[in-house]
Symmetry: C2
Amino acid sequence: MINHPPLPHDHGHTPQDLSCPPAQQLQEAADCFRLLGDASRLRLFCLLCQCEECVINLSALMGMSSPALSHHLRQLKSCGLVVSRREGKEVYYRAADTPQARLLHQTALQLAYAEDGT
Amino acid sequence: MINHPPLPHDHGHTPQDLSCPPAQQLQEAADCFRLLGDASRLRLFCLLCQCEECVINLSALMGMSSPALSHHLRQLKSCGLVVSRREGKEVYYRAADTPQARLLHQTALQLAYAEDGT
DNA sequence: ACAACAATTAAACATATGTTTAATTATTTG
DNA sequence: CAAATAATTAAACATATGTTTAATTGTTGT
């Protein structure tokens, strides 16, 4: 709980304690949201939640160049949303098997399909 | 379900049908994520999920100028995540009472506090 | 009508971001 | 070892974004 300083105006309907995640955790949550805030990357993430694929096939599926895709994959990986493994010449990517990844995937689907998610 | 064209490589472990929300709905979901992809805006949204406040008080709570705040509020409003009402000289903002807003708030808290959200 | 306060808008600016093109690294195969 | 394929990295570019400052609009009270 965060106890905020006195406010310029007192309208009598603001709780003295407003809970808010600490700055660092808030930033990490924001980083996850930001990654999925690009339609291409969100679609990529959704694909990677359903299959494991090499970069060339992902390029074809996404209609996007390999370098562009590599860039997005690295970002998703840096936040722990996807993982990769090399097999011969190819590197396979898939969504990470973590609570965060599952949560964000479900949230994305619920947002897109407008199902009630409460 | 989306039936994708043949891929450059056949590794034998990719489903022929990969479901993905239609472009427009995907874009709307991405827009919501993008809005919460900024730490300041995410914190603002969390505050507005707990109280209704005027811009000056939100400025004080956020440690941010009124114009900067107005800018963020307009974006959150344009996506339907917050609503406003004027009362005299002041305009009060609060989180929208919609499934999307509730879903995103819960997701943000779960991400930040690292609770298992599956 | 005028002054004071609240909020928004507009312009300007620096920074961040997504994509392209070209170059580089890694791995397999002839 | 050289050629071919897969992936990444680097440089360059245009565009988008967050914030500041200054100007404008809206509302209340004298």
